[in-house]
């Protein structure tokens, strides 16, 4: 707030003397906004803590209360962000206190308090920005976490047959994913001693020169370790794009479907599949 300069005590006194009324009004205003996603009691507990700090900010000489207030707000907006509240719903939780205090000031009819209210309002706006920043940071964190989980989910290496590994790729290939695919494929090659690997790109939406480059690198690395790679799942449009872009897969074997690739790999490893009867 505006600090402890002379004549500054009115709002603070008001906050102290009319605690119940202001807090009730504040809770009511915020409750309207969160529409039952938080219980009245939870909300009340949260706001009571903030209110307590807000009322003490006035005699805050060394800034500790201000720090606490910011921390409490940050904590609140973090949990709101996690629960999926929108940023405005989060910020309104803070701004609503202005409405509640203003009503209290009006009731008291104190003109001096009105003057002070302008500064109080600026202070609350500042706090609102804190919640906004924390909210944005928290959402970024959620997105980053999800991206990481997606990365782990989307790069499995499966054993198709004794000595044949399958890598079903789903989604766009970028350098980070290629790196992970490459590492997990090579690791599995060592663990299983497989001599054949099938990289299936049915789930890759588009192949451009960069994706092709990544695929080639993976195949080359597997080849260095003594494993033959087959690329499968080349759809008609993808084949057209690849030819259109002039991408050369060199002597890497490519097949239209995973089944063809598996049949080829089985054939190469000397396994013949026949019908029982």
């Amino acid at each position: 707030m505006s600090g402890g300069a002379g004549g500054e005590g009115r709002i603070a006194a008001l906050l102290g003397s009319r605690e119940e009324a202001v807090l009730d009004r504040w809770t009511a205003l915020v409750a309207e906004n969160v529409r039952g996603r938080l219980t009245e009691r939870e909300l009340r507990a949260e706001l009571t803590e903030l209110y307590g700090l807000l009322a003490r900010v006035h005699d805050d000489a060394d800034g500790t209360v201000r720090g606490e207030l910011r921390a409490a707000l940050a904590e609140m907006s973090r949990s709101r962000a996690r629960q999926g509240f929108s940023p405005s719903e989060t910020a309104v939780g803070v701004f609503a206190v202005k409405q509640a205090v203003l009503e209290a000031v009006e009731e008291s009819g104190d003109t001096e308090a009105y003057r002070e209210f302008a500064r109080f309002s600026a202070f609350v706006d500042d706090l609102g920005l804190v919640t906004f920043e924390t909210y944005a940071a928290e959402r970024e964190q959620v997105i980053a976490d999800q991206a990481e989980q997606l990365l782990e989910l989307s790069t499995p290496v499966v054993k198709l047959w004794d000595g044949i590994l399958g890598v079903p790729l789903v989604g766009t290939l970028d350098s980070a994913r290629t790196q992970i695919v490459m590492e997990s494929l090579l690791q599995m090659l060592v663990e299983t001693g497989s001599e054949h690997a099938v990289i299936d790109i049915t789930g890759v939406p588009a192949v451009d020169t960069e994706v092709a480059q990544h695929l080639l690198k993976t195949v080359m690395a597997a080849r260095l370790m003594g494993t033959d790679c087959v690329i499968s799942g080349i759809r008609p449009q993808i084949a057209q794009t690849i030819v259109g872009l002039g991408i050369e897969f060199g002597d890497i074997v490519t097949k239209a479907t995973l089944a063809d690739a598996l049949a080829y790999a089985l054939d190469r490893s000397g396994v013949s599949v026949v019908k029982a009867v």
Partner: protein
Amino acid sequence: MDRVPILKIGSVLLVSIQVDLQDQTVLALQEDLADRIVRTGARGVVIDITAVDIVDSFIGRMFATIASMSKLMDAETVVVGMRPAVAITLVELGLSLGGVRTALDLEKGMRLLGAPVPGVS
């Protein structure tokens, strides 16, 4: 300076690299190997790099050099036991070792050269 031992199994020469490769070691190995191929009339060379976990472009080129050298003396080269990290490094360095055959382990490498593997029918 360490010298890398070259072992003869039938018509195959086995080079198992167990030490940190210095450039000098690599050059000495190339000389020794060329010498041994001529003296023994070996038909294949297996380079086992299971114990190698750091490579640079010089060592990467060594494999290609040895392979083409052996080829001139009618011996085929197989590099076996490359670790994932090494394979990734070589690819990132742009060395795809064209002309060098590779296998996952020594046994598969020997079989690739058509050499008899003891105890396996």
